[in-house]
């Protein structure tokens, strides 16, 4: 059942619909996401990240592709594996890392934790940790846009395993019958936590093979190629913005690390990771830049700047205190407090 990494798409250097600016941005985002998440892993080993955390090493092309294609004002709904998507919309590294470290500098000052990264100012309308819950919520955001005549599109990211829960089904049907401006993005990384998706799913492509059940087109793309993701994202966003309703996109990818910090990923067949490492999205994209004539110095500058930013963010986070204890009982209710009685 398991998909194999796809061969790299043929070079399209002669016919560039993406452009240098977007390309550099796609690369920059992938590198920064990679570096930040690798730093998160180091911080975990140093016991500076205390809760759980779910890296998406190897899946960066999806976050980058959508991040670049989306417009300011568009809304992202992510999962616990949402570091990448949060950064891709412009949230700061220290906000993200700080939240993983549960410090005051974190996006939610440590109250939410790594599974609930939220940055409303960047359109990141939350990260959701109960599988499937955010698909209907994303419908609601899109409904609001439709009702108020606002032009933003809502994008909802989730994993392959999520396609087997009821909320997935309800949301897809709902989005289609109300013709909502929402794009559902399934990141098929082959596994739920530790169980291969093929063992628990009735069809080969968990999202793609279900699109027709909602009258949608089957869209399954190489999720390790940021150009492919970017093009697919742009088309779906445009469609939604034109008022032509939702899309369901399955991006084929692989996570290089375990499910969460607790997971050594021993359940993988030998050689699988190695195959996918050859198709590392950053490797692919560095090559792509070269094909499009971007100089090594420009690439190196992006790499260096990313490392510099990660260092600075790390220092800022380490320097940040824990949030004041008053926060414990703040913001339970809209009056800012927690009073349930008079």
């Amino acid at each position: 059942m398991a998909q194999k990494p796809r061969p790299a798409a043929a070079s399209a250097a002669g016919n560039d619909d993406i452009g240098t600016e977007n390309r550099l941005e796609l690369y920059r985002l992938q590198v920064e996401i990679r570096d930040t998440e690798k730093r998160a892993y180091d911080l975990f080993l140093q016991n500076l990240i205390k809760g759980t955390s779910h890296l998406s090493l190897g899946q960066e092309a999806i976050a980058a592709g959508f991040g670049v294609a989306m417009e300011k004002g568009d809304k992202s709904f992510c999962t616990y594996r949402g570091h990448a998507h949060t950064l891709a919309r412009g949230a700061s590294m220290e906000g993200m890392l700080g939240e993983l470290m549960l410090r005051d500098i974190g996006l939610m000052r440590g109250k939410g934790g790594s599974m609930h990264l939220t940055s409303v100012e960047h359109g990141v309308m939350g990260s959701y940790a109960i599988i499937g819950a955010h698909l209907p919520i994303a419908c609601g955001s899109a409904w609001r846009a439709q009702y108020l005549g606002e032009k933003d599109v809502t994008v909802c990211f989730f994993g392959d395993g999520t396609t087997n829960i009821g909320a997935f089904h309800e949301a897809l049907n709902f989005a289609v019958i109300w013709k909502l401006p929402v794009v559902f993005v399934c990141e098929n990384n082959l596994y739920m936590e530790y169980t291969p998706i093929g063992e628990v799913t009735a069809v080969h492509n968990p999202a793609g093979d279900r699109a027709s059940a909602y009258g949608l087109d089957k869209i399954v793309v190489d999720g390790n190629d940021a150009d492919v993701v970017f093009r697919t994202a742009r088309a779906a966003l445009d469609k939604a913005r034109r008022g032509e309703g939702p899309s369901l996109i399955e991006c084929l990818t692989y996570r290089h690390s375990g499910h969460s910090r607790a997971d050594p990923a021993k359940y993988r067949p030998p050689g699988e990771l190695e195959e996918w490492l050859k198709r590392d999205p950053i490797l692919i994209y560095k090559q792509r830049l070269r094909e499009f004539g971007i100089g090594e110095d420009q690439i190196a500058a992006i790499d260096a700047e990313s490392r510099r930013k990660v260092e600075a963010a790390t220092e800022a986070c380490k320097a940040s205190p824990s949030a004041p204890v008053e926060l414990l009982t703040q913001d339970v209710y809209a009056d800012g407090g927690w009073a349930w009685r008079n």
């Binding site: 109960i130 209907p136 409904w143 609001r144 309800e170 913001d331 800012g336 008079n342």
Partner: protein, 326 residues
């Protein structure tokens, strides 16, 4: 002043708020063209049109999820969950998503919406369509919870719920839909978190909610008439926020507390209040706190059994009389 049924009051309360605020939208199963299976939304589709009053598929998770997503991005939805028992199929939104959104995001996001739902027994619908599940919602931090017992309260509390910036669960009692009551003209806006002393009394305090309110009042009349017991009857109305001041004040006066709860015994709303009183008003108490509830059983469909299960005025009066005299 006009006489309205409880179900008409639901529609009127919603209409009042929809007229005031264009962001108020309605969604649920069969609520639009058909006016709702309990006919509590009759006329709203005609008045406010198909964009604001929307029929949904049988997808309770999508209903509440969509309401939440719309609420956090700018609308003020009112979602119907037809029977309150069905909150179980979308309980993740009620228990985990809506009430924790603001807290987890450190106040970045808000969830101003109302979930209306047909709650309670008395209509022979059996174990899965008759439950009193106020406690399922009362126990969750971050929710507000109301359960009106009269048409006027329905309108005023609906308005307060819609205007509140928190997720509010609005329990409509199915057996009260046909109940009539006087309703003032013009806009009505009540206050969440306020109980109402419906019958002042000095010998004991009776707390009741929704369908149990008329029954408690009737029992109080019996107690006064036949046993010389002068009971103070309080309509709790709002479980969160909870008007503990009114309740503690009453117990300070009467020294005795009874709760009349439609829910099965374990962890009915009265348990919380009993525990508060047993702590904070312990020295005011002249005797045991007694909860009168449905036995801890699923509800039977048969009319005679259902009637037997729920607290009714004679049983309430009898129990209180025996406790007070014993």
């Amino acid at each position: 002043m006009a006489e309205l049924t409880y179900r008409e009051a639901v529609a009127r309360g919603i209409a009042q708020e929809m007229q005031r605020d264009n962001r108020v939208v309605l969604l649920g199963e069969d609520i639009a063209k058909a006016g709702g299976v309990f006919k509590a939304t009759v006329g709203l589709y005609e008045q406010f049109g198909p964009l604001r009053v929307r029929d949904t598929p049988i997808s309770e998770q999508a209903i509440l999820g969509a309401a939440m997503g719309a609420a956090m991005t700018g609308l003020r939805p009112i979602a119907e969950i037809m029977f309150s028992d069905f909150l179980a199929v979308c309980f993740d939104y009620v228990a985990n998503e809506m009430p924790k959104l603001r807290y987890m995001t450190n106040g970045q996001l808000s969830c101003p919406l109302v979930i209306r739902t047909g709650n309670g027994a008395g209509v022979r619908f059996g174990a899965q369509h008759s439950q009193s599940i106020e406690n399922w919602t009362m126990m969750i931090p971050g929710l507000k919870v109301v359960a009106p017992s009269s048409p006027a309260d329905v309108i005023g509390l609906m308005a307060a719920a819609v205007r509140d910036d928190n997720p509010v669960i609005f329990h409509e009692h199915k057996a009260l839909y046909a109940m009539k009551g006087e309703v003032p003209d013009g806009e009505i806006v009540d206050t969440l978190g306020t109980a109402k002393i419906l019958r002042p009394g000095k010998d004991c305090t009776i707390l009741a909610l929704a369908l149990m309110v008329p029954r408690a009042l009737e029992a109080a009349e019996t107690l006064a008439r036949e046993h010389g017991i002068d009971a103070e009857v309080i309509d709790v109305r709002s479980l969160v926020p909870l008007d503990t001041q009114t309740m503690l004040g009453s117990v300070a006066k009467t020294g005795r507390l009874f709760t009349v709860e439609e829910n099965p015994r374990l962890l009915g709303w009265g348990a919380e209040i009993a525990s508060i009183v047993a702590d904070e008003a312990f020295w005011d108490l002249d005797g045991p706190i007694v909860r009168i509830t449905t036995p801890h059983i699923p509800l039977p469909a048969a009319d005679h059994l259902e009637d037997l299960a729920l607290p009714n005025a004679p049983r309430i009066a009898e129990k209180i009389m025996r406790v007070m005299n014993g």
